[in-house]
Protein backbone atom coordinates (compact mmCIF):
# COMPACT_ATOMS: atom_id res chain seq x y z
CA UNK A 1 0.00 0.00 0.00
CA UNK A 2 2.52 2.55 1.16
CA UNK A 3 5.02 1.37 -1.43
CA UNK A 4 2.48 1.98 -4.19
CA UNK A 5 1.64 5.39 -2.69
CA UNK A 6 5.32 6.31 -2.85
CA UNK A 7 5.42 5.25 -6.46
CA UNK A 8 2.45 7.47 -7.28
CA UNK A 9 4.00 10.42 -5.47
CA UNK A 10 7.27 9.84 -7.28
CA UNK A 11 5.56 9.62 -10.68
CA UNK A 12 3.46 12.72 -10.01
CA UNK A 13 6.53 14.68 -8.89
CA UNK A 14 8.51 13.60 -11.96
CA UNK A 15 5.65 14.59 -14.28
CA UNK A 16 5.28 17.96 -12.54
CA UNK A 17 9.02 18.53 -12.84
CA UNK A 18 8.98 17.64 -16.53
CA UNK A 19 6.03 19.91 -17.29
CA UNK A 20 7.59 22.66 -15.18
CA UNK A 21 10.89 22.37 -17.07
CA UNK A 22 9.17 22.43 -20.46
CA UNK A 23 6.89 25.32 -19.57
CA UNK A 24 9.56 27.40 -17.84
CA UNK A 25 10.01 30.02 -20.60
CA UNK A 26 6.27 30.77 -20.40
CA UNK A 27 6.22 30.90 -16.64
CA UNK A 28 9.35 33.00 -16.24
CA UNK A 29 9.62 36.18 -18.24
CA UNK A 30 12.92 37.42 -16.79
CA UNK A 31 15.73 36.91 -19.32
CA UNK A 32 18.21 37.02 -16.49
CA UNK A 33 16.54 34.17 -14.64
CA UNK A 34 16.52 32.02 -17.77
CA UNK A 35 20.19 32.84 -18.25
CA UNK A 36 20.91 31.51 -14.75
CA UNK A 37 18.93 28.36 -15.48
CA UNK A 38 20.91 27.83 -18.70
CA UNK A 39 24.22 28.28 -16.84
CA UNK A 40 23.04 25.80 -14.22
CA UNK A 41 22.30 23.31 -16.99
CA UNK A 42 25.74 23.82 -18.53
CA UNK A 43 27.50 23.26 -15.21
CA UNK A 44 25.30 20.25 -14.43
CA UNK A 45 26.11 18.59 -17.78
CA UNK A 46 29.83 19.33 -17.43
CA UNK A 47 29.92 18.08 -13.84
CA UNK A 48 28.01 14.89 -14.73
CA UNK A 49 30.69 14.03 -17.29
CA UNK A 50 33.42 14.83 -14.76
CA UNK A 51 31.73 12.64 -12.19
CA UNK A 52 32.21 9.59 -14.42
CA UNK A 53 35.97 9.61 -13.89
CA UNK A 54 36.24 11.51 -10.59
CA UNK A 55 33.23 10.04 -8.82
CA UNK A 56 32.39 6.67 -10.27
CA UNK A 57 35.89 5.42 -11.03
CA UNK A 58 37.44 7.53 -8.27
CA UNK A 59 40.40 8.90 -10.24
CA UNK A 60 40.62 12.62 -9.59
CA UNK A 61 41.68 14.17 -12.89
CA UNK A 62 42.37 17.90 -12.62
CA UNK A 63 42.30 18.40 -16.40
CA UNK A 64 38.57 18.28 -17.05
CA UNK A 65 38.13 21.97 -18.02
CA UNK A 66 40.83 21.43 -20.65
CA UNK A 67 38.46 19.22 -22.63
CA UNK A 68 35.64 21.71 -22.10
CA UNK A 69 37.85 24.53 -23.40
CA UNK A 70 39.25 22.53 -26.31
CA UNK A 71 35.72 21.58 -27.37
CA UNK A 72 34.74 25.24 -27.16
CA UNK A 73 37.67 26.33 -29.33
CA UNK A 74 36.97 23.60 -31.89
CA UNK A 75 33.33 24.67 -32.16
CA UNK A 76 34.25 28.36 -32.33
CA UNK A 77 36.85 27.79 -35.06
CA UNK A 78 34.58 25.50 -37.07
CA UNK A 79 31.60 27.81 -37.02
CA UNK A 80 33.54 31.03 -37.69
CA UNK A 81 36.08 29.77 -40.23
CA UNK A 82 34.30 26.86 -41.89
CA UNK A 83 30.71 27.85 -41.26
CA UNK A 84 29.39 24.53 -39.98
CA UNK A 85 26.00 24.14 -38.31
CA UNK A 86 25.48 23.46 -34.63
CA UNK A 87 25.08 19.69 -34.70
CA UNK A 88 28.35 19.29 -36.60
CA UNK A 89 30.12 21.59 -34.09
CA UNK A 90 28.58 19.71 -31.16
CA UNK A 91 29.67 16.30 -32.42
CA UNK A 92 33.11 17.25 -33.74
CA UNK A 93 33.97 19.24 -30.58
CA UNK A 94 33.10 16.22 -28.46
CA UNK A 95 35.07 13.86 -30.67
CA UNK A 96 38.19 16.05 -30.72
CA UNK A 97 38.10 16.39 -26.92
CA UNK A 98 37.61 12.63 -26.60
CA UNK A 99 40.52 11.94 -28.94
CA UNK A 100 42.76 14.28 -26.93
CA UNK A 101 41.70 12.54 -23.74
CA UNK A 102 42.42 9.15 -25.30
CA UNK A 103 45.90 10.24 -26.36
CA UNK A 104 46.88 11.62 -22.94
CA UNK A 105 45.17 8.81 -21.01
CA UNK A 106 47.83 6.27 -21.97
CA UNK A 107 50.75 7.97 -20.16
CA UNK A 108 48.73 9.52 -17.32
CA UNK A 109 47.08 6.30 -16.21
CA UNK A 110 50.53 4.95 -15.46
CA UNK A 111 50.43 7.34 -12.50
CA UNK A 112 48.26 6.72 -9.47
CA UNK A 113 46.52 8.75 -6.81
CA UNK A 114 47.97 12.16 -6.13
CA UNK A 115 50.55 11.79 -8.92
CA UNK A 116 47.72 11.33 -11.41
CA UNK A 117 46.01 14.45 -10.05
CA UNK A 118 49.17 16.56 -10.27
CA UNK A 119 50.17 15.16 -13.66
CA UNK A 120 46.79 16.02 -15.17
CA UNK A 121 47.02 19.41 -13.47
CA UNK A 122 50.35 20.04 -15.22
CA UNK A 123 48.77 19.06 -18.55
CA UNK A 124 45.85 21.45 -17.89
CA UNK A 125 48.19 24.34 -17.04
CA UNK A 126 50.22 23.79 -20.22
CA UNK A 127 47.06 23.67 -22.34
CA UNK A 128 45.90 26.94 -20.80
CA UNK A 129 49.25 28.53 -21.70
CA UNK A 130 48.84 27.28 -25.26
CA UNK A 131 45.35 28.82 -25.44
CA UNK A 132 46.78 32.08 -24.09
CA UNK A 133 49.80 32.26 -26.38
CA UNK A 134 48.94 30.70 -29.75
CA UNK A 135 47.27 33.88 -30.89
CA UNK A 136 47.10 32.85 -34.56
CA UNK A 137 44.77 30.04 -33.57
CA UNK A 138 42.96 31.14 -30.42
CA UNK A 139 43.30 34.93 -30.49
CA UNK A 140 44.88 34.61 -27.02
CA UNK A 141 43.43 36.53 -24.07
CA UNK A 142 41.31 38.65 -26.45
CA UNK A 143 39.16 35.51 -26.95
CA UNK A 144 37.63 34.17 -30.14
CA UNK A 145 34.58 36.39 -30.51
CA UNK A 146 31.47 36.49 -32.69
CA UNK A 147 30.68 32.79 -32.59
CA UNK A 148 27.38 32.73 -34.55
CA UNK A 149 24.04 31.81 -33.05
CA UNK A 150 23.48 28.08 -33.42
CA UNK A 151 21.68 26.81 -36.48
CA UNK A 152 20.30 23.35 -35.77
CA UNK A 153 19.76 21.72 -39.10
CA UNK A 154 18.97 18.13 -39.97
CA UNK A 155 18.18 18.39 -43.69
CA UNK A 156 15.56 18.10 -44.92
CA UNK A 157 13.55 17.77 -41.71
CA UNK A 158 14.61 20.46 -39.28
CA UNK A 159 15.96 23.98 -39.66
CA UNK A 160 15.96 25.76 -36.34
CA UNK A 161 17.59 29.17 -35.96
CA UNK A 162 18.31 29.38 -32.25
CA UNK A 163 18.02 33.04 -31.30
CA UNK A 164 15.78 33.82 -28.32
CA UNK A 165 16.54 32.91 -24.72
CA UNK A 166 13.74 30.35 -24.84
CA UNK A 167 15.41 28.68 -27.85
CA UNK A 168 18.73 28.52 -26.03
CA UNK A 169 16.92 27.13 -23.02
CA UNK A 170 15.33 24.31 -25.02
CA UNK A 171 18.62 23.53 -26.71
CA UNK A 172 20.25 23.31 -23.25
CA UNK A 173 17.44 21.04 -22.09
CA UNK A 174 17.99 18.74 -25.06
CA UNK A 175 21.74 18.64 -24.35
CA UNK A 176 21.20 17.98 -20.64
CA UNK A 177 18.73 15.22 -21.51
CA UNK A 178 21.35 13.60 -23.77
CA UNK A 179 24.03 13.82 -21.08
CA UNK A 180 21.77 12.56 -18.29
CA UNK A 181 20.56 9.60 -20.31
CA UNK A 182 24.10 8.71 -21.41
CA UNK A 183 25.43 8.93 -17.85
CA UNK A 184 22.56 7.05 -16.28
CA UNK A 185 22.75 4.32 -18.94
CA UNK A 186 26.46 3.98 -18.24
CA UNK A 187 26.41 4.11 -14.47
CA UNK A 188 23.43 1.83 -13.86
CA UNK A 189 24.69 -0.88 -16.20
CA UNK A 190 27.36 -3.53 -15.81
CA UNK A 191 29.89 -0.91 -16.86
CA UNK A 192 28.83 1.33 -13.98
CA UNK A 193 29.26 -1.49 -11.48
CA UNK A 194 32.69 -2.17 -12.93
CA UNK A 195 33.55 1.53 -12.46
CA UNK A 196 32.58 1.22 -8.81
CA UNK A 197 34.56 -1.97 -8.32
CA UNK A 198 37.66 -0.10 -9.51
CA UNK A 199 36.93 2.76 -7.12
CA UNK A 200 36.52 0.43 -4.16
CA UNK A 201 39.54 -1.79 -4.80
CA UNK A 202 41.42 -1.74 -8.06
CA UNK A 203 43.62 -4.74 -7.30
CA UNK A 204 40.64 -6.84 -6.28
CA UNK A 205 38.77 -5.76 -9.42
CA UNK A 206 41.74 -6.78 -11.55
CA UNK A 207 41.91 -10.11 -9.74
CA UNK A 208 38.22 -10.66 -10.54
CA UNK A 209 39.00 -10.38 -14.24
CA UNK A 210 38.28 -6.69 -14.83
CA UNK A 211 40.77 -4.75 -16.95
CA UNK A 212 40.97 -1.54 -14.86
CA UNK A 213 42.89 0.43 -17.49
CA UNK A 214 40.19 -0.19 -20.10
CA UNK A 215 37.40 1.05 -17.88
CA UNK A 216 39.36 4.01 -16.50
CA UNK A 217 40.12 5.08 -20.07
CA UNK A 218 36.47 4.62 -21.01
CA UNK A 219 35.25 6.86 -18.17
CA UNK A 220 37.94 9.45 -18.88
CA UNK A 221 37.24 9.58 -22.63
CA UNK A 222 33.45 9.71 -22.30
CA UNK A 223 33.80 12.45 -19.66
CA UNK A 224 35.95 14.38 -22.14
CA UNK A 225 33.44 13.73 -24.94
CA UNK A 226 30.68 15.25 -22.84
CA UNK A 227 32.92 18.14 -21.79
CA UNK A 228 33.85 18.92 -25.40
CA UNK A 229 30.23 18.93 -26.56
CA UNK A 230 29.10 21.04 -23.61
CA UNK A 231 31.97 23.40 -24.49
CA UNK A 232 30.53 23.69 -28.03
CA UNK A 233 27.15 24.68 -26.63
CA UNK A 234 28.80 27.09 -24.20
CA UNK A 235 30.70 29.07 -26.85
CA UNK A 236 27.61 29.23 -29.05
CA UNK A 237 25.67 30.57 -26.08
CA UNK A 238 28.18 33.17 -24.86
CA UNK A 239 29.54 33.75 -28.45
CA UNK A 240 33.05 33.73 -26.90
CA UNK A 241 35.81 31.13 -26.50
CA UNK A 242 38.37 32.29 -23.91
CA UNK A 243 41.52 30.80 -22.32
CA UNK A 244 39.85 31.19 -18.90
CA UNK A 245 37.50 28.35 -19.91
CA UNK A 246 40.49 26.02 -19.39
CA UNK A 247 41.61 27.52 -16.09
CA UNK A 248 42.17 25.83 -12.75
CA UNK A 249 39.38 28.06 -11.40
CA UNK A 250 36.99 25.94 -13.47
CA UNK A 251 38.49 22.81 -11.90
CA UNK A 252 37.85 24.27 -8.45
CA UNK A 253 34.24 25.07 -9.41
CA UNK A 254 33.68 21.51 -10.66
CA UNK A 255 35.17 20.03 -7.49
CA UNK A 256 32.91 22.25 -5.37
CA UNK A 257 29.85 21.12 -7.37
CA UNK A 258 30.81 17.45 -7.12
CA UNK A 259 31.78 17.25 -3.48
CA UNK A 260 29.12 19.63 -2.16
CA UNK A 261 26.30 17.83 -3.97
CA UNK A 262 27.53 14.28 -3.56
CA UNK A 263 30.34 12.70 -5.52
CA UNK A 264 29.41 9.64 -7.57
CA UNK A 265 25.68 10.41 -7.38
CA UNK A 266 23.89 11.87 -10.39
CA UNK A 267 21.19 13.57 -8.34
CA UNK A 268 23.86 14.92 -6.01
CA UNK A 269 25.91 16.37 -8.84
CA UNK A 270 22.87 18.14 -10.30
CA UNK A 271 22.01 19.39 -6.83
CA UNK A 272 25.57 20.69 -6.56
CA UNK A 273 25.22 22.59 -9.84
CA UNK A 274 22.01 24.20 -8.59
CA UNK A 275 23.59 25.13 -5.27
CA UNK A 276 26.61 26.61 -7.00
CA UNK A 277 25.00 28.59 -9.83
CA UNK A 278 21.35 29.10 -9.04
CA UNK A 279 21.05 29.90 -5.36
CA UNK A 280 23.80 32.57 -5.04
CA UNK A 281 22.05 34.71 -7.65
CA UNK A 282 19.17 35.12 -5.24
CA UNK A 283 21.38 35.78 -2.26
CA UNK A 284 23.16 38.55 -4.18
CA UNK A 285 26.46 38.45 -2.36
CA UNK A 286 29.82 39.51 -3.69
CA UNK A 287 31.75 36.94 -5.73
CA UNK A 288 34.69 36.68 -3.32
CA UNK A 289 32.51 36.33 -0.23
CA UNK A 290 30.54 33.66 -2.05
CA UNK A 291 33.74 31.77 -2.81
CA UNK A 292 34.83 32.01 0.85
CA UNK A 293 31.51 30.46 1.86
CA UNK A 294 31.87 27.71 -0.77
CA UNK A 295 35.44 27.03 0.36
CA UNK A 296 34.25 26.64 3.94
CA UNK A 297 31.30 24.47 2.86
CA UNK A 298 33.65 22.31 0.82
CA UNK A 299 35.91 21.80 3.83
CA UNK A 300 33.02 20.92 6.13
CA UNK A 301 31.41 18.62 3.56
CA UNK A 302 34.49 16.63 2.72
CA UNK A 303 35.40 16.14 6.39
CA UNK A 304 32.03 15.60 8.04
CA UNK A 305 29.68 14.41 5.30
CA UNK A 306 31.77 12.74 2.60
CA UNK A 307 28.64 11.65 0.70
CA UNK A 308 27.63 15.26 0.15
CA UNK A 309 24.26 16.91 0.53
CA UNK A 310 22.55 14.20 -1.51
CA UNK A 311 23.91 11.59 0.88
CA UNK A 312 22.42 13.49 3.81
CA UNK A 313 19.05 13.88 2.07
CA UNK A 314 18.94 10.22 1.04
CA UNK A 315 19.75 9.12 4.57
CA UNK A 316 17.08 11.41 5.99
CA UNK A 317 14.42 10.17 3.55
CA UNK A 318 15.30 6.55 4.21
CA UNK A 319 15.20 7.16 7.94
CA UNK A 320 11.75 8.74 7.69
CA UNK A 321 10.39 5.97 5.50
CA UNK A 322 11.91 3.32 7.73
CA UNK A 323 10.54 4.99 10.82
CA UNK A 324 7.05 5.19 9.38
CA UNK A 325 6.86 1.58 8.19
CA UNK A 326 8.17 0.48 11.55
CA UNK A 327 5.19 1.98 13.37
CA UNK A 328 2.31 -0.36 14.07
CA UNK A 329 -0.39 -0.03 11.41
CA UNK A 330 -3.63 1.29 12.86
CA UNK A 331 -6.04 -0.13 10.29
CA UNK A 332 -6.18 0.82 6.63
CA UNK A 333 -6.44 4.42 5.57
Amino acid sequence: MSKRKHLYIYAALSLALLIGLLALPWLVKSRYLIHIVIMTGIYAALALGYDLIAGHVGWLSLAHPTFFGVGGYVAALLSTRVGTTFIVDFVVAGLVAALLAFLVSKPFFRLAGISFAIGTLGFALIMQLVANNEIWLTNGPMCLAKVPRPLVSIPPLVTWHVSSMADYYYLMLAMLFLVVSLCSRLTTSRVGRTFMSIREDEVLAAAAGVDPLKYKTLAFVIGALIAGSVGAYYVHYTTLACPTDLSSYMTTVLLIILFLGGVGRMRGVMLGAIIFTFIPEFLRIAESLRMVIYGALLLVTVVYMPEGLDGVITKWLRHRRFGRSNQPQKGGE
Binding site: G113, S288, L299
Partner: protein
Amino acid sequence: MQIFLEQVLNGLTLGAMYACIAAGQALIFGVARLVNFAHGDIFMVGAYVFFLLYMVAGVPSPLAVILTAIIMFVFGGLFERAIVRPIIDKPWYVHLIATLGASVILSNGAVIVFGTTPKEVPTYFSSTVLDVAGFHLSLQRIAVLVVAVLAFLGLHLFLQRTKTGKAMKAMSQNREACAVVGVDVRRLSALTFAISCGLLGLASGVVSPLFNVFPTMGLGLTFKAFAAVIIGGFGQVNGAIYGAFILGLAEALGAGYIASDYKDAIAFGVMVLVLLLRPQGLFGRKVGI
Protein backbone atom coordinates in the same frame (compact mmCIF):
# COMPACT_ATOMS: atom_id res chain seq x y z
CA MET B 1 77.71 38.11 -20.98
CA GLN B 2 76.61 40.80 -18.59
CA ILE B 3 72.97 40.23 -19.46
CA PHE B 4 73.54 36.50 -19.01
CA LEU B 5 74.94 36.97 -15.49
CA GLU B 6 72.08 39.28 -14.54
CA GLN B 7 69.61 36.66 -15.78
CA VAL B 8 71.42 34.08 -13.66
CA LEU B 9 71.07 36.29 -10.60
CA ASN B 10 67.37 36.78 -11.38
CA GLY B 11 67.02 33.03 -11.77
CA LEU B 12 68.75 32.38 -8.46
CA THR B 13 66.47 34.78 -6.55
CA LEU B 14 63.42 33.30 -8.26
CA GLY B 15 64.78 29.85 -7.39
CA ALA B 16 65.29 30.90 -3.77
CA MET B 17 61.66 31.93 -3.53
CA TYR B 18 60.44 28.68 -5.10
CA ALA B 19 62.82 26.75 -2.87
CA CYS B 20 61.40 28.25 0.33
CA ILE B 21 57.90 27.23 -0.78
CA ALA B 22 58.92 23.85 -2.17
CA ALA B 23 61.08 22.88 0.85
CA GLY B 24 58.10 23.41 3.15
CA GLN B 25 55.85 21.51 0.77
CA ALA B 26 58.31 18.61 0.65
CA LEU B 27 58.71 18.61 4.43
CA ILE B 28 54.94 18.44 4.87
CA PHE B 29 54.58 15.68 2.31
CA GLY B 30 57.45 13.74 3.82
CA VAL B 31 56.33 13.94 7.43
CA ALA B 32 52.53 14.18 7.19
CA ARG B 33 51.93 12.47 3.79
CA LEU B 34 49.77 15.40 2.73
CA VAL B 35 49.89 17.48 -0.44
CA ASN B 36 49.01 21.00 0.56
CA PHE B 37 47.15 22.90 -2.17
CA ALA B 38 47.00 25.98 0.08
CA HIS B 39 50.78 26.33 0.42
CA GLY B 40 51.13 29.20 -2.06
CA ASP B 41 48.17 30.96 -0.48
CA ILE B 42 49.86 30.76 2.91
CA PHE B 43 52.84 32.48 1.24
CA MET B 44 50.37 35.16 0.09
CA VAL B 45 49.12 35.55 3.67
CA GLY B 46 52.73 36.00 4.77
CA ALA B 47 53.25 38.66 2.12
CA TYR B 48 50.23 40.59 3.41
CA VAL B 49 51.45 40.22 7.00
CA PHE B 50 54.74 41.76 5.87
CA PHE B 51 52.83 44.50 4.04
CA LEU B 52 50.83 45.31 7.19
CA LEU B 53 53.89 45.31 9.44
CA TYR B 54 56.15 47.26 7.13
CA MET B 55 53.90 49.64 5.19
CA VAL B 56 51.05 50.15 7.68
CA ALA B 57 52.64 49.73 11.11
CA GLY B 58 55.99 51.14 9.98
CA VAL B 59 58.21 48.42 11.44
CA PRO B 60 61.75 48.56 9.92
CA SER B 61 62.04 45.98 7.17
CA PRO B 62 64.60 43.51 8.66
CA LEU B 63 62.59 43.37 11.88
CA ALA B 64 59.37 43.06 9.87
CA VAL B 65 60.80 40.02 8.05
CA ILE B 66 61.61 38.30 11.34
CA LEU B 67 58.21 39.17 12.82
CA THR B 68 56.49 37.86 9.68
CA ALA B 69 58.36 34.58 10.03
CA ILE B 70 57.31 34.27 13.68
CA ILE B 71 53.67 35.14 12.96
CA MET B 72 53.56 32.65 10.10
CA PHE B 73 55.17 29.99 12.32
CA VAL B 74 52.19 30.36 14.66
CA PHE B 75 49.80 30.50 11.71
CA GLY B 76 51.19 27.18 10.46
CA GLY B 77 50.56 25.54 13.81
CA LEU B 78 46.99 26.87 13.85
CA PHE B 79 46.46 25.76 10.23
CA GLU B 80 47.52 22.25 11.18
CA ARG B 81 45.19 22.23 14.16
CA ALA B 82 42.15 23.62 12.33
CA ILE B 83 42.34 22.07 8.88
CA VAL B 84 44.90 19.29 8.69
CA ARG B 85 44.28 17.34 11.89
CA PRO B 86 40.65 16.41 11.11
CA ILE B 87 41.64 15.03 7.68
CA ILE B 88 45.09 13.56 8.19
CA ASP B 89 43.86 9.96 8.51
CA LYS B 90 41.55 10.23 5.48
CA PRO B 91 42.50 9.27 1.90
CA TRP B 92 44.58 11.56 -0.28
CA TYR B 93 41.70 13.03 -2.28
CA VAL B 94 40.16 14.36 0.93
CA HIS B 95 43.51 16.09 1.60
CA LEU B 96 43.38 17.58 -1.89
CA ILE B 97 39.79 18.83 -1.64
CA ALA B 98 40.15 20.16 1.90
CA THR B 99 43.38 22.07 1.27
CA LEU B 100 41.94 23.36 -2.01
CA GLY B 101 38.97 24.60 0.05
CA ALA B 102 41.43 26.33 2.38
CA SER B 103 43.15 27.88 -0.64
CA VAL B 104 39.81 29.21 -1.94
CA ILE B 105 39.03 30.66 1.51
CA LEU B 106 42.44 32.33 1.90
CA SER B 107 42.68 33.85 -1.59
CA ASN B 108 39.10 35.15 -1.66
CA GLY B 109 39.34 36.26 1.96
CA ALA B 110 42.34 38.36 0.94
CA VAL B 111 40.26 39.91 -1.85
CA ILE B 112 37.62 40.91 0.70
CA VAL B 113 40.13 42.37 3.17
CA PHE B 114 42.69 43.98 0.85
CA GLY B 115 40.95 44.32 -2.53
CA THR B 116 42.34 43.11 -5.83
CA THR B 117 44.77 45.97 -6.46
CA PRO B 118 48.38 44.76 -6.16
CA LYS B 119 50.28 46.31 -3.25
CA GLU B 120 53.83 47.51 -3.64
CA VAL B 121 56.25 47.18 -0.74
CA PRO B 122 59.44 49.00 -1.79
CA THR B 123 62.16 48.81 0.86
CA TYR B 124 65.51 50.48 1.22
CA PHE B 125 67.14 47.29 -0.07
CA SER B 126 65.00 46.98 -3.17
CA SER B 127 65.56 50.60 -4.20
CA THR B 128 69.33 50.38 -3.74
CA VAL B 129 71.19 49.12 -6.78
CA LEU B 130 74.88 48.38 -6.45
CA ASP B 131 77.20 48.88 -9.40
CA VAL B 132 79.83 46.18 -9.13
CA ALA B 133 82.23 46.06 -12.10
CA GLY B 134 79.49 47.19 -14.45
CA PHE B 135 76.82 44.85 -13.03
CA HIS B 136 73.58 46.17 -11.65
CA LEU B 137 72.89 44.24 -8.49
CA SER B 138 69.75 44.97 -6.51
CA LEU B 139 70.58 44.71 -2.82
CA GLN B 140 67.24 43.04 -2.21
CA ARG B 141 68.12 40.16 -4.53
CA ILE B 142 71.32 39.58 -2.62
CA ALA B 143 69.37 39.73 0.64
CA VAL B 144 66.95 37.10 -0.71
CA LEU B 145 69.83 34.76 -1.54
CA VAL B 146 71.58 35.26 1.80
CA VAL B 147 68.41 34.75 3.82
CA ALA B 148 67.41 31.68 1.80
CA VAL B 149 70.81 30.03 2.12
CA LEU B 150 70.88 30.72 5.88
CA ALA B 151 67.36 29.32 6.25
CA PHE B 152 68.20 26.13 4.35
CA LEU B 153 71.39 25.69 6.37
CA GLY B 154 69.35 26.10 9.55
CA LEU B 155 66.74 23.63 8.35
CA HIS B 156 69.42 21.14 7.36
CA LEU B 157 71.16 21.37 10.73
CA PHE B 158 67.82 21.09 12.52
CA LEU B 159 66.92 17.91 10.64
CA GLN B 160 70.37 16.33 10.98
CA ARG B 161 71.47 17.32 14.47
CA THR B 162 68.52 17.89 16.81
CA LYS B 163 66.47 15.13 18.36
CA THR B 164 63.21 16.63 17.08
CA GLY B 165 64.62 16.91 13.57
CA LYS B 166 65.75 13.30 13.65
CA ALA B 167 62.31 12.29 14.86
CA MET B 168 60.84 14.09 11.85
CA LYS B 169 63.14 12.20 9.53
CA ALA B 170 62.14 8.97 11.21
CA MET B 171 58.49 9.86 10.88
CA SER B 172 58.89 10.46 7.18
CA GLN B 173 60.17 6.91 6.88
CA ASN B 174 57.61 5.16 9.03
CA ARG B 175 54.86 6.95 10.86
CA GLU B 176 53.41 3.92 12.64
CA ALA B 177 56.75 2.69 13.93
CA CYS B 178 57.45 6.17 15.32
CA ALA B 179 54.13 6.19 17.14
CA VAL B 180 54.92 2.75 18.55
CA VAL B 181 58.27 3.78 20.02
CA GLY B 182 56.74 6.82 21.67
CA VAL B 183 57.26 9.71 19.25
CA ASP B 184 54.49 12.28 19.63
CA VAL B 185 53.29 12.05 16.05
CA ARG B 186 50.66 14.78 16.33
CA ARG B 187 52.96 17.33 17.93
CA LEU B 188 55.60 16.67 15.27
CA SER B 189 53.06 17.06 12.51
CA ALA B 190 51.97 20.43 13.93
CA LEU B 191 55.61 21.45 14.27
CA THR B 192 56.23 20.48 10.64
CA PHE B 193 53.47 22.82 9.49
CA ALA B 194 54.73 25.58 11.77
CA ILE B 195 58.28 25.28 10.40
CA SER B 196 57.10 25.15 6.79
CA CYS B 197 54.91 28.20 7.23
CA GLY B 198 57.64 30.03 9.16
CA LEU B 199 59.89 29.42 6.16
CA LEU B 200 57.14 30.81 3.93
CA GLY B 201 56.88 33.88 6.15
CA LEU B 202 60.62 34.45 5.92
CA ALA B 203 60.51 34.07 2.15
CA SER B 204 57.47 36.31 1.68
CA GLY B 205 59.11 39.01 3.77
CA VAL B 206 62.30 39.18 1.70
CA VAL B 207 60.73 38.44 -1.69
CA SER B 208 57.64 40.66 -1.74
CA PRO B 209 59.63 43.90 -2.27
CA LEU B 210 60.72 42.42 -5.62
CA PHE B 211 57.23 41.40 -6.73
CA ASN B 212 53.86 42.93 -5.97
CA VAL B 213 51.52 41.47 -3.38
CA PHE B 214 48.06 40.44 -4.60
CA PRO B 215 45.41 37.93 -3.47
CA THR B 216 45.66 35.47 -6.36
CA MET B 217 49.46 35.14 -6.31
CA GLY B 218 49.25 31.93 -4.29
CA LEU B 219 47.84 29.28 -6.61
CA GLY B 220 50.50 29.79 -9.29
CA LEU B 221 53.20 29.49 -6.63
CA THR B 222 51.62 26.31 -5.28
CA PHE B 223 51.83 24.79 -8.76
CA LYS B 224 55.45 25.93 -9.21
CA ALA B 225 56.30 24.40 -5.84
CA PHE B 226 54.68 21.13 -6.95
CA ALA B 227 56.91 21.18 -10.00
CA ALA B 228 60.02 21.71 -7.86
CA VAL B 229 58.98 19.03 -5.38
CA ILE B 230 58.34 16.51 -8.14
CA ILE B 231 61.58 17.29 -9.96
CA GLY B 232 63.43 16.78 -6.69
CA GLY B 233 61.55 13.61 -5.78
CA PHE B 234 58.31 13.61 -3.78
CA GLY B 235 58.83 14.55 -0.17
CA GLN B 236 62.59 15.10 -0.21
CA VAL B 237 63.59 18.48 1.18
CA ASN B 238 67.03 18.74 -0.40
CA GLY B 239 65.75 17.47 -3.73
CA ALA B 240 62.97 20.07 -3.67
CA ILE B 241 65.50 22.83 -3.02
CA TYR B 242 67.70 21.75 -5.93
CA GLY B 243 64.59 21.37 -8.10
CA ALA B 244 63.45 24.88 -7.21
CA PHE B 245 66.80 26.44 -8.13
CA ILE B 246 66.86 24.52 -11.42
CA LEU B 247 63.36 25.80 -12.15
CA GLY B 248 64.22 29.38 -11.26
CA LEU B 249 67.30 29.36 -13.50
CA ALA B 250 65.46 27.63 -16.36
CA GLU B 251 62.67 30.17 -16.17
CA ALA B 252 64.90 33.23 -16.06
CA LEU B 253 67.17 32.01 -18.85
CA GLY B 254 64.25 30.63 -20.87
CA ALA B 255 62.41 33.93 -20.60
CA GLY B 256 65.54 35.85 -21.57
CA TYR B 257 66.68 33.69 -24.45
CA ILE B 258 63.81 31.55 -25.75
CA ALA B 259 60.26 32.85 -25.25
CA SER B 260 58.84 34.68 -22.26
CA ASP B 261 55.30 33.56 -23.19
CA TYR B 262 56.09 29.97 -22.37
CA LYS B 263 58.37 30.41 -19.34
CA ASP B 264 55.73 28.86 -17.07
CA ALA B 265 55.33 25.93 -19.44
CA ILE B 266 58.95 24.94 -18.73
CA ALA B 267 58.13 24.18 -15.11
CA PHE B 268 54.95 22.24 -15.86
CA GLY B 269 56.40 20.45 -18.87
CA VAL B 270 59.40 19.27 -16.88
CA MET B 271 57.08 18.30 -14.03
CA VAL B 272 54.92 16.12 -16.28
CA LEU B 273 57.97 14.54 -17.92
CA VAL B 274 59.61 13.73 -14.59
CA LEU B 275 56.35 12.26 -13.28
CA LEU B 276 56.04 10.03 -16.33
CA LEU B 277 59.65 9.05 -16.89
CA ARG B 278 61.34 9.24 -13.51
CA PRO B 279 58.67 9.28 -10.80
CA GLN B 280 61.20 9.06 -7.97
CA GLY B 281 62.58 12.46 -9.00
CA LEU B 282 65.88 13.48 -10.51
CA PHE B 283 67.78 12.98 -7.26
CA GLY B 284 65.61 10.07 -6.27
CA ARG B 285 65.65 8.09 -3.10
CA LYS B 286 62.75 5.86 -2.19
CA VAL B 287 61.87 7.02 1.34
CA GLY B 288 62.55 9.78 3.82
CA ILE B 289 63.00 13.54 3.77
